[in-house]
């Protein structure tokens, strides 16, 4: 009995130290007015930060933007990733090229690709291309409202980079499915669509669920890419960037902690939902 706990101890200590402590600390400071601007030290303010956050129209806007950002990028990444994974599954002469296309965005350092994208969308030199980029921005912003271009560029970058990850992930999933299941489908289904809908997608379900969840966490926690692509301007804030603004630029660390923790219930609910989906109860108690 004692040995069992001793054996569990290293993992428990690691989890407590690396996960529980920082999260606990963040939860605590979200209940204080911790700020470098406060010379007297942090004071317990109860749910004050949360009340302020919920009363802030900016918060709701950030939630909406984050949700749309998640939905749009996830749908695009899954579609793109699945298409690339299916292409990579069957041997063909094009396979090495597709492999290259898939791995490159993922393998390339994030910071470098962000700068490349930034320059592509906001050309640093005046050329005929910069005129084109400029008119595209005005066209998009004019059609969808101010900030739409920034949003679109961030979403594009996320899809470009995340789509390849999803492809690799789903390819691993496809390879894990016994080939007879696809062969049987080839014998029995009449259209490629039937096969995709009745066989491939259901068999991929656990992998799709995990891909959605990973996309969920990256979309919600996305700070660096959004920050770099928009040059740190809060034109179209996701929750991450706004929390950064509050904490680092404004020094309202307590409030920023409340903002970032506001994502926890959402993520937890998503996690539960997704696990239910890919491992339904009636199958588990089989």
């Amino acid at each position: 009995m004692v040995t069992a706990y001793l054996l569990l101890a290293p993992a428990t200590i690691l989890l407590l130290g690396v996960l529980a402590y920082p999260v606990g600390w963040e939860a605590w400071i979200s209940l204080t007015d911790l700020s470098p601007l406060n010379v007297r030290g942090p004071r317990f303010v109860g749910l004050q930060n949360y009340r302020a956050m919920l009363a802030e129209p900016f918060f709701w806007r950030a939630v909406a933007v984050t949700a749309v950002y998640f939905a749009v990028t996830t749908a695009a990444k899954l579609a793109l990733g699945l298409a690339m994974a299916l292409l990579l599954l069957r041997p063909s002469r094009l396979r090495p090229l597709v492999f290259l296309a898939v791995f490159l965005p993922w393998a390339y350092p994030g910071g470098v690709s962000v700068v490349a994208w930034y320059w592509m969308l906001n050309p640093p030199l005046i050329t005929s291309y910069s005129v084109l980029a400029g008119s595209m921005k005005y066209a998009v912003d004019g059609l969808l409202g101010g900030g739409a271009w920034a949003f679109l560029s961030v979403a594009l970058f996320n899809v470009w980079r995340g789509g390849s990850f999803t492809a690799v992930f789903l390819l691993a999933g496809l390879n894990a499915i016994p080939t007879e299941l696809f062969e049987y489908a080839a014998l029995e289904t009449h259209t490629a669509w039937q096969q995709l809908r009745h066989v491939t997608l259901p068999l991929l379900r656990p992998f799709l669920a995990l891909a959605v969840f990973l996309s969920f966490t990256t979309a919600f926690a996305d700070l660096a890419n959004v920050w770099m692509l928009t040059g740190g301007r809060v034109i179209f804030p996701v929750i991450g960037t706004y929390a950064y603004w509050l904490g680092i630029r404004n020094g309202a660390i307590g409030e920023a902690a409340a903002w970032s923790l506001s994502l926890v219930p959402l993520l937890a609910a998503a996690l539960v939902g997704l696990f239910r989906w890919f491992d339904p109860r009636e199958e588990r108690t089989a």
């Binding site: 007879e180 080839a186 289904t189 039937q194 066989v199 259901p202």
Partner: protein, 363 residues
Amino acid sequence: MAQVLLKDLNKKYDEVHAVKDVNLHIRDKEFIVLVGPSGCGKSTTLRMVAGLEEITAGEIAIGDRVVNDLPPKDRDIAMVFQNYALYPHMTVYDNMAFGLKMRKFPKPEIQKRVKDAAEILGIQDLLKRKPRQLSGGQRQRVAVGRAIVRHPQVFLFDEPLSNLDAKLRVQMRVELKRLHDRLETTAIYVTHDQVEAMTLGDRVVVMKDGWIQQVGEPLELYGKPTNRFVAGFIGSPAMNFAEVTITEANGALTAESSGFRVLVPPARAGNLKAHKGQRVTLGIRPEDLHIATGADPAGYTFDTVVDVVEPLGSEILLDVKSGSNSLVARVEPTVRVKVHEGIRLGLNPDRLHFFDMTTEKAI
């Protein structure tokens, strides 16, 4: 119901020539078994019939249609896979109904067919379960049921019993045979197990290295193998082989080996005369050897030493040595012999096999 014609069928992968000039006429309602060691091309042949492998050269016709360029779904075949290939996310009912649903059959028809098939296979109570809730034997039944509901022209079985334990395999073998008698659908069955092949097949096709070695009814293959490979592959324990030299003494041919010397039966002398002075392979099935008695004709007995005794209950297998030859004899369970004991064996002169040493063909 349909006949299946394979004409000059060939399959080449980059380096490997997996199926070579296979010609086979599978008759309507026939249960034909392709058997051979792994890599003999039997599965590849089946998969070409199914349309899962492209045909390199030759022609496959199902019924009156050449199906070379037809996709698998249009060939009117139903296949049962070794690993069952059941969809884990579907119930047994949905698994069985899958092919019909995809073909847009009306719902009442699907229900009726699934119900009928489930009844035949005794799996009515399992229809609402998922595959993972089933035992291996039950999964196998579902896989077969899924093929039955399709009412195809041809059933294709790819080693369907290989994943079952020995007892269940014997039971399912009997059921498959009964099922075929009832449905009378042409069936092509692939296995590496010669017992399965012999018990199930109306005719058996023995393959090796991509070539068909022999096609025939089970007892024909057993009694008249056309070459040494078929002789050794069919039958368990396998046929005994011994290198012998054919010599002539006093007008009679004898086969002489390092440990024994037996007469060549007069009925076989005609063919073997041409091999006088040459070495040939003598084949004797274990049941054609027995403990010699006074009733054995002279010239058909020889001395051996018992090496191993394997009492199986219904029979005893004796591993014996005669000179440099190791032979297995299948004898009555009442025989009592000890290891290292010298015994005299007699053989059945009407059932000897001779094979050419170089071509390995039966003489």
